[in-house]
């Protein structure tokens, strides 16, 4: 039952999560994930055939807004915390489409 997490898996998850781990952190992450997954595998002891996955606990539906403009120009606030701003926009490292 013991889960084995490969180096490739840790690297792959690092790409998904945008985390760069040192070699030591990687080893720890492997061990942590293995033991967590072993632990999570406990769920397989339960037969959940026919049980609907429950994402919301309460049956609340159809929460809407009307299509009415309520927000004005709030640029100053929106950009206030930007690490780098340029011409009223958020500055980012060069992207290539």
């Amino acid at each position: 039952m013991a889960n084995v997490i490969s180096d490739e898996t840790i690297d792959y998850v690092g790409i998904l999560a945008k985390l760069e781990l040192s070699d030591e952190e990687k080893e720890n992450a492997k061990k942590d994930m293995e033991s967590m997954l072993d632990y999570i595998d406990k769920l397989n002891e339960l037969d959940t055939t026919g049980v609907e996955p429950m994402s919301h606990v309460f049956p609340v539906n159809n929460v809407f807004r009307e299509d009415v403009v309520t927000n004005g120009d709030d640029r100053e606030n929106i950009l206030k915390n930007a690490p780098e701003e340029q011409d009223g926009m958020f500055n980012v490292p060069k992207t290539f489409d």
Binding site: L43, V60, F90
Partner: protein, 485 residues
């Protein structure tokens, strides 16, 4: 009597009667902070200037009759994961180390409208991930009852600030026990209301389907009063529910006659400290003697709650924390070669180890090929757990048990083994999965003098049952203490 000895509602009455001014109350708290904060580290940010200015404003509004509520003029501490306009809000993380929100969370706005004076923002486990407040990027908070011990977490700063009289009450957030467990460890009252009762707008999300804001206070009366103020339907939070029965203070009744209380045998098995067990069962006896119908039963599925919880919470967290990328706010790494390098360095430098661990786990359980086996399975188990509680609440009004298997552990003891740390959440976690309300209040001390927490769990939207039971128990305990003296 020292101002600091008043509860929040007592203080509000004194302020209303002009026996104490808002400024005096604020200065009393700031004075206490000067004395003890260096040792306890309850706060990330203390807003002295803002608090003093606010104190005068609120005093004027009280004098003019514009504000006339049960909390008017009372100084409060806010957990540092709730946005406060103009006040640093960090989630105790380096990645938000310089983040000053431009809007205030709805729960805090409700307090402000009621005349609250915000003293500062309390320390917490980074992004609320942890049970000890040791994962904070700004150092651990210490338990005022014994500074060698942790205050619990993740709302450890809020619980400790209340226990240390560094505020009169505080707001915390509870995703898997983060209000109730630190309340238990610090000997204060803490409550997580039914999911959807308090707006999450402005609460920086950890596990969106589990997060709920609630009060930490000196007693049950304060707790119900605060909850009544912060509970509101909010059209900005789609999961907010329009409730009729938010008159929580009406449940402050010293009477549990006929109240059906169930004690889940599964909460008293292996792993539970015997002193904790005895204290909690004694509390059940007290309620029984006051007329409650108390009986044992089997809840079931208890050991599955933790793996289900960590799967769901980690998955949601991995997504909720994607927005911290060094572009719009917060920390950005200094040197990078390109966009993806900037993302990775910013996030790796900005997040601490526990947060990274959960992001990695969450990203993995959602990744291609594993979603069904892990995430959907956990959502199915969640449905089963909800069903188990539905069955229990068909028979009982209140479920009674411990809040944690032990009293507060020593600093540095917990983080080495994550799974062991997660196991400490066993009595609190399933309540979040099922959306239920739960309250924790002190029910004694262990032989080391550390507080023991009693947890009362209610059915969805029925906070009043647990408030009534908690209030009745608290009254009885106060009586007993008087007798001892």
């Amino acid at each position: 009597m020292n101002i600091l000895d008043y509860t929040a509602t007592e203080l509000a009455k004194k302020i209303k009667a002009h026996e104490v001014s808002v400024l005096e109350a604020t200065n009393a708290v700031l004075g206490q902070i000067d004395k003890t904060e260096d040792e306890y580290n309850c706060y990330v940010t203390i807003d002295r200037e803002g608090a003093l200015k606010k104190a005068e404003e609120v005093q004027a509004k009280i004098d003019s009759g514009e504000i006339d509520g049960p909390l008017a003029g009372v100084p409060v501490a806010i957990k540092d994961n709730m946005c406060t306009e103009g006040i640093l809000t960090t989630c105790s993380s380096k990645i938000l180390g310089n983040f000053v929100p431009t809007f205030t969370s709805e729960a805090v706005l409700n307090l402000e409208r009621a005349g609250a004076v915000i003293i500062g923002k309390t320390n917490m486990d980074e992004f609320a991930m942890g049970s000890t407040t040791e994962t904070s990027a700004f150092g651990p908070t210490k338990n005022p009852k014994n500074p060698e011990h942790v205050p619990g977490g993740s709302s450890g700063g809020s619980a400790a600030a209340v226990a240390a009289n560094e505020c009169f009450y505080a707001l915390g957030s509870d995703t898997g026990g983060s209000i109730r467990q630190p309340a238990g460890y610090c000997g204060v009252v803490g409550m997580k209301p039914t999911y959807s009762t308090v707006s999450r707008y402005g609460l920086i999300a950890y596990g969106s389907s589990l997060d709920q804001i609630g009060p930490l206070s000196k007693d049950v009366t304060d707790c119900a009063t605060i909850l009544e103020v912060i509970a509101s339907y909010d059209s900005k939070d789609s999961t907010s529910v329009k409730r009729e029965n938010t008159d929580f203070t009406s449940a402050l009744v010293d009477d549990v006659k006929g109240l059906r209380i169930g004690i889940p045998r599964d909460y008293f098995g292996e792993g539970l400290d015997s002193e904790v067990k005895d204290a909690v069962l004694k509390a059940a006896d007290v309620l029984k003697s006051k007329g409650a119908v108390v009986e044992e039963f089997d809840l079931g599925l208890v050991e599955y709650a933790i793996p289900a919880y960590y799967t769901i919470a980690a998955a949601e967290a991995s997504s909720n924390l994607e927005r911290f990328d060094g572009i719009k706010y917060g920390y950005r790494t200094e040197e990078y070669t390109d966009l993806h390098n900037m993302y990775k360095k910013t996030r790796s430098e900005g997040f601490g180890p526990e947060v990274k661990r959960r992001i990695m786990l969450g990203s993995f359980v959602l990744s291609s090929g594993y979603y069904d086996a892990y995430y959907l399975k956990a959502l199915r188990v969640k449905a089963l757990i909800k069903k188990a509680f539905d069955d229990a609440f068909a028979k009982y009004d209140v479920i009674l048990g411990p809040v944690a298997p032990t009293t507060a552990p020593k600093l540095g003891e917990s983080l080495s083994d994550p799974i062991k740390m997660y196991l400490g959440d066993i009595y609190t976690i399933s309540i979040n999965l099922a959306g239920l309300p739960g309250i924790c209040l002190p029910c004694g001390n262990d032989s080391k003098g550390l507080p023991i927490g009693l947890q009362l769990i209610g059915d969805c939207f029925k906070e009043n049952n647990i408030i009534r039971a908690a209030y009745t128990y608290e009254q009885a305990r106060n009586e007993m203490e008087k007798e001892v003296k």
